[in-house]
Symmetry: C2
Subunit: 152 residues, 2 copies
Amino acid sequence: MPKDLSKYGRLVKHANNTLRRHIDTFAAGYGLTGVQLSIIDFLGKYPQQMCLQRDIETEFAIRRSSATTLLQRMEKKGLILRLVAKDDARQKEIQLTKKVQPFVQLNRDYMKAQRDSLETNFSQEELLTFTKVLQFLIIDEVGKNYGKERER
Amino acid sequence: MPKDLSKYGRLVKHANNTLRRHIDTFAAGYGLTGVQLSIIDFLGKYPQQMCLQRDIETEFAIRRSSATTLLQRMEKKGLILRLVAKDDARQKEIQLTKKVQPFVQLNRDYMKAQRDSLETNFSQEELLTFTKVLQFLIIDEVGKNYGKERER
């Protein structure tokens, strides 16, 4: 099998692994895990809005039980509040605590450094292409339709 | 926080999630998990070579204990053999069984469909840019050096 047949998928996986490892290392310096810092970042974008546990499950592609464990740990650390959602008593509404504000800024700086590095090394056009291919993979029907194509 | 500050990392994560979900769905049709099919594919590239459990841990960025559980399950299903490595008794050498050959071909077809879809929708130049940016993220020092940059 020619090695490159699967290269795009492998590269996406390895890039994701590297990014995750870097953010884990960065977050560890502040006593957090990478996922906790990412969730703080995600919640930080909804300061006036109501973020439900369900939204976090979707964003991070994790099961309800995993999300519950993760968020309970963050609650114990005083990073978030878990409240019963106003419109749906089965759902939890997740809010950041005041204690977390420095971490929001830290993460913002980290993400900015990452973006600056890409923008220093690649043109706007190249980064647009990069974004377009990733978006294609995200919404694409390759995987979904592959079975159907074989039936023809 | 402007939404796009963290967009590259998020897009890579979402693309990886989508690819993983698609391969999970595809593999489930053959009674396999996506990870099992990916490992079969990885081993299929080393027909004459000796693949150690350590190589699988590195490729899939998983801990030794997770790799052992995963490979023990695959051995029970008759997909692989786990042998004591010739040069290092602490290591396992992993070999595909004959039973697995149809899955190697299935995965090859699947990867080819994925690649064809990208090559139909994007130019060679665009895919080269895509590859270059991913490779940059994989080997890049952004995350590693971020702490150092802040110290300056």
